[in-house]
């Protein structure tokens, strides 16, 4: 495992509850979500047609892509009920002193549902 790179991203109040915002950092674009009791960070591009996932409606722990309705689990990055297997990278996120930190080196892309299960366990 590479060393963690916890990067302060933004103050928690900059992202309203159950919404997401795009964040450009380290050459990639993240979608950062405020889930009420926690934050979640994923890659901000739907593998289907590149839709901005930060603009999707949040349904529990799932975000729905605003372009064609693909659904991604914010914890694992796996697409749910998609026509073919797909996933986006997820990044660990935590809150400290009112600031959301994302581990920019902790990005992970699940290869399969099996990985998703092990990752969640």
């Amino acid at each position: 495992m590479p060393e963690a790179n916890w990067t302060p991203i933004t103050r928690v109040e900059n992202i309203p509850p159950l919404e997401g915002r795009a964040v450009q950092t380290g050459g990639i674009e993240l979608a950062l979500f405020n889930l009420g009791d926690r934050f979640a960070a994923i890659e901000n591009a739907c593998p289907h047609r590149g839709g901005p996932l930060c603009d999707g409606i949040v349904s529990g722990a799932i975000v729905v892509c605003p372009l064609h309705g693909w659904r991604f689990d914010l914890a694992t990055g796996m697409a749910a009920r998609a026509p073919q297997p797909a996933c986006v990278a997820t990044f660990p996120a935590r809150v400290e002193n009112g600031i959301v930190f994302v581990d920019l080196k902790g990005g992970r892309r699940m290869a399969s549902e099996q990985d998703a299960l092990e990752g969640a366990a």
């Binding site: 990067t7 991203i9 933004t10 450009q24 950062l32 590149g50 901005p52 409606i57 349904s59 990005g107």
Partner: protein, 806 residues
Amino acid sequence: MKKLVVVGNGMAGVACVEQILKRSRDFEITIFGEETHVNYNRILLSSVLAGEKSADDIVLNRVEWYRDNGIRARLGVRVEQIDRQRRVAIADDGAAEPFDQLILATGSSAFLPPIQGVNKENVHVFRTLDDTRELIAKACEGTRAVVIGGGLLGLEAARGLQLRGCEVTVVHLMETLMERQLDPAGGAFLKRKIESLGIRVLMPRQTQAILGNGRVHGLRFASGEEIEADLVVVAAGIKPNVELAKRAGLEVRRGIVVNDYMETSDPAIYAVGECTEHRGQIFGLVAPLMEQGKVLADAIAGQRGLLFEGAQPAAKLKIMGVEIFSAGSIDEAEPGVEVVRYEDPAEGVYKKLLVKNNRLRGVILVGDASDERRYTQWLREETDLAQSRRHLLFPPPEKDAGLEVAQMPDKEVICGCNGVTKGEIIQAIHEHGIKTFDDLKQRTRASSSCGSCKGLCQQLLRAVAPDFQEETRTTLCSCLPFSYEQLRQIVRGQRLKSVQEVLNVYGNRKGCEVCKPALSYMLDMIWCGEHDEDRSARFINDRVHANIQKDGTFSVVPRMRGGVTSPEELRRIADVAEKYKVRMVKVTGSQRIDLLGIKKADLPRVWADLGMPSGQAYTKGVRMVKTCVGTEFCRFGVQDSTAAGIELERRLENLFTPHKVKMGAVGCPRNCAEATVKDIGMVGQDGSWQVVVGGAAGKSVRKADLLITVETTEEALDACELFFQYYRENANYLERTYDFVERLGIEAIRKETVYAPEAQKNALRERLRRSKGMAKDAWLERDAPVHPTQFAAIEVLGQDRPVEVQ
């Protein structure tokens, strides 16, 4: 032909007769029913009380069924005596019905605990359709209703009364709600949920007396505490109806004693249903009763095969939106029992499994019963769980729902209540050409009792029936199992003002991309804009007031009323297009101009530079009124359609609608601005206007229906407004006017709008006026964003070095 008399016309008795008819036609059958109704689904009485279903919706066997099967039904007639010597049943109307064999299906009745004053006016039980009707008549907005009994029936009564607007209190003798099915922790989860719905729960409370002079005005508990009440429902349990059997000298303990063939102590007399006692057990849930019916049918038809060997207690139900499943033995104190438990208070989910020797003994699920089939199977087959101990509480990874039913073996039972297998359903679909769920229910009886297998049945239909027709009366989505009409009533009745409130109380808390925007619309419409707006529940277009494009940029369409613009506006549009390097400037089909490829962060400045209001081209709302030049310039024009169209747009702009509303106004019947294929159209004639509605020229093409012909422009605008508001209030979300008009019929719509009584029209006008008073140009949020980062990009605090994804 043998004479068969059935005493009791309820679910168990009639289901048993259906089974007998399948096996033999050698019987001349007479059914006595004390109630005056044909056989209906008693389990769904709570839905009738709640107003979700009508009495007719819950009928299981219509009059034709009795007639077509040659069954004599004696409804409203009570059998008083059975003369076993002479083999005659004597009814209260004096009839003496001879029989060769007789089935007792007398059911059960409400147990009335020894409470003083229990026969006062406005004290009811909740057992029959007539009880339900009386309750409906008494339950009004603001009635203080007390339900005695916190079991299944009591809670269902409480929910129904609350949906009718009553202030409801549940009084329970025990310390745990539904203590037969739940443990204290599970009961506490349910209590929290019920209280969050606004129902008061008092327990443990022993009711001592019902107070009031002739009519109820309160209750006194054993502790001396008193509460006020206008209406009392006693739901403290049921007791088997055994008096007739007792008088006939049959063996009776708590219920009518039957053996494994459902025979009573007299071999010519059988019993089935809630009146029976088998191996010391009595029954209150439907599945074992259906099983009994089959065993009895085999026996009486002389094919003694099946044995009734009792039943695992199992109950699956949904109470006030909370799924509950309880099966097997839930006694934690049993030696050797291990408990596996999961609790998530935020989600309201509680799961508890009781395991002994690696076999499942019992299960309690609250808030999420999606795994119920797995547990039922483990219980029934006594599956060895040694290998799956790590996966007891959570299902295997999400599967395609269609796959689940596809993978079931043909002999797997889909409807547990009626014992219908997958194979039988598929065979029936092919044999009878079944196309609808209702037809499937009728033909196979699957899903006709508790209804919990409805989803599986529908999946099978979708997979197998070549031209399956979905039900028209559907629910909004699986997050929120209510129809639009029910939800509108709930939102009004419970005065709910935010999407999250509705989801917390009546849904799964989460919501999704389907129900959240629909609820957002509904709340805005019902409260005329005075709701609690929650932008996280809106689609991105309605968060930033622009239309998202395939590359994540947005399109901007300013309002250009009636399609009329000016050189100054055009100059500003041109300047904006250059300044923001707009990739395409496009004249739309709606007589306005679209600026495409604008970044989210630029939106507020683009709007400010344009200095024009939002054209709402991104939302389910008022789009535009397309016009022709009318009498202003046209040689043929007979009405000033341009001015009328601009006025119509001005009156309705900034309002939201179930789906987009595109309008048109034309100055003569040549119809150059295509008003007859618009949602609302004004068609000018010499000396009058025709107002037409429900037109379409998009995915569907439909000529609009004539709503009314009027003389003045003001009358025409008024007619447009009446229809507009009526559509706003009564259409389902995402239902275009052309579907709405076809669904309701133009005649019905005329009666509710332009030909409605003046008071009704004034009410529509008043609600439209209030909504319009709250409606604002959304683009003004450029100066007062609802959130500091509504449009702005997030500035990252930390360092900005390249990263790699593993």
